[in-house]
Amino acid sequence: MAIDLWLPRILQLCAWLCAAIIIAIMTFLLLESLPLIIESGFWSFFQLQAWQPEENRFPLLAMLIGSLLVASGAMLIATPLGIAAAIFGRYYAPTPLAIAYRGLMELLAGIPSVVFGFWGLTILVPWIAHWSPPGASILAGILVLTLMILPLVVLTCDAALLKVPPQYLHGATALGLSRWGTIRHISLPTAFPAIASGIVLQMGRALGETMAVLMVCGNVIQLPDSWFSPVRTLTANIALEMSYAMDNHRAALFASGLLLLLSATALMLLADHYRQKNCVQY
């Protein structure tokens, strides 16, 4: 029938359209930052000097390190916590509690970053300031970001664990495996590709978070010397200065966005490569 002729074509169009969006965004960023890249050269962005728009100097390295530190710190905490919480929800919790837990996570996934940032600003930062002023620091950023990505990590892992075929679990029970044994040797490996792609998505989100880190990280452009130093992430930089920037300054901000995107691409390629090697067929 005709539908089988054009349905695949339409679906293919949808798929390539979705894939093309990121190409459009990258092209856009490149076009906006090209004048500055041509003028100052590619490596001028990777200096450690001070960021001085008035003097036409736009080194991004300190902010890139700030972004990477905050994002990776948050991922390191949220990943094990999230997977454990998802396992709890699927295998250890009584059903009503599990449903409530999942509902809580779904609710948290929809709370604006402003609310998290505000909470961090009014409660977390003064608390950290007691130990070590100024309080607005990498640590504050990591904690707030963990709070933000934890719900989605839990939810994607939960969805992944849900799709483990029940026959596997029945077989494991029949063979007398303990609950933890089943989880460790059967559920987790089976759900691993889905969990991995969920984690990768969240890592991207952690790198791209703007509002909350803007409020709690201190926004001072410097190389941090401790977990209590303020830093500025690339995203916070764009948010702070974009509206007030002209010409070269503006182009530099677009270049920093492009840099962020390229770092995320590098991370995704790495994760993709690792996934190809360790994928369990199911």
Binding site: A50, G135, Y244, A245
Partner: protein
């Protein structure tokens, strides 16, 4: 069989709005300073209630954005929270209110005043501890600075004759409220904000105190009497002499009816007395 009819109906309803033709007979677009935006929105709604077929859209984005949008026609009127620079001579500024910039500390901070020299030393990182304190140990100052490009920051630096590259801040913030929240929750913080915002929050009970500059208290009263040194004019700018709707709006903003609205934001009206 899934209820596809229901699904398509739902999707169709979502697009109902796009069937309407946008009406654009009388519309004004204002963009610019986020300090001015709340006041501009209030003026806009008061104006709209008087002339019901008019739509005025106020968007934020910073004084620089207001200037560039006005220049290339994306906005009819720009909101600029400082005086125009010599390079911006092609635009016309219509002042509607006055605001000031004041240093704020936490209410429990015993410091009474800071001299200009002290302020300069603190912001360049040469003084790191509060000179007077309730505690037995020295308390470090948490220096809060505004991000570059903001007119508040430019005015502050110009008055105290500091260059941005010499400042050694502990925290950099973007909006006034960010600074206000930090100072009210961190007892050792020091920041500078718009007087309008600070005084409003202080009257609402926020635990902050405005520090005097050069012996003159920072308040709406001293601004009004022109005594306070760190003041700035809030302007509506246009690319050319305003006509029609823009002219009416600017006249309204400079008239006596606008005073209540301006006072409510803790700014000082400068026209229409």
């Amino acid at each position: 069989m899934p209820n596809w009819r229901g699904v398509w109906l739902l999707l169709g309803i979502c697009h109902l709005g796009s069937c309407q033709v946008p009406s654009v007979e009388k519309k004004l677009i204002l963009t610019g300073s986020s300090t001015l935006a709340p006041l501009a929105s209030e003026l806009a709604s008061a104006f709209e209630s008087r002339f019901p077929d008019v739509r005025i859209d106020v968007q934020s984005g910073g004084s620089a954005r207001g200037i560039s949008d006005t220049r290339n026609g994306l906005a009819d009127i720009g909101l600029v929270s400082r005086a125009l620079k010599p390079t911006e001579n092609d635009l016309i500024a219509h002042g509607i209110a006055q605001d000031g910039i004041s240093l704020i500390v936490h209410k429990e901070n015993p410091i009474a005043t800071l001299s200009s020299h002290q302020i300069r030393q603190i912001y360049t990182g040469n003084i790191n501890f509060w000179p007077a304190t309730n505690h037995s140990t020295k308390q470090p100052i948490t220096v809060i600075h505004k991000a570059s490009g903001r007119s508040t920051q430019e005015l502050f630096l110009a008055y105290f004759q500091l260059a941005n590259r010499d400042i050694r801040p502990d925290i950099i913030i973007g909006e006034n409220q960010h600074a206000l929240k930090l100072v009210s929750s961190t007892p050792n913080a020091l920041a500078y904000v718009s007087i309008g915002a600070a005084e409003f929050e202080a009257t609402q009970g926020l635990p902050i105190r405005l520090l005097p500059i050069e012996g003159i208290d920072a308040s709406v009263l001293t601004l009004k009497s022109q005594q306070f040194p760190l003041s700035r004019r809030l302007n509506l700018v246009t690319a050319s002499t305003p006509v029609g709707l823009a002219k009416q709006f600017i006249e309204f903003s400079q008239s006596k009816e606008a005073h209540t609205l301006i006072n409510k934001q803790f700014f000082i009206p400068i026209h229409g007395y």
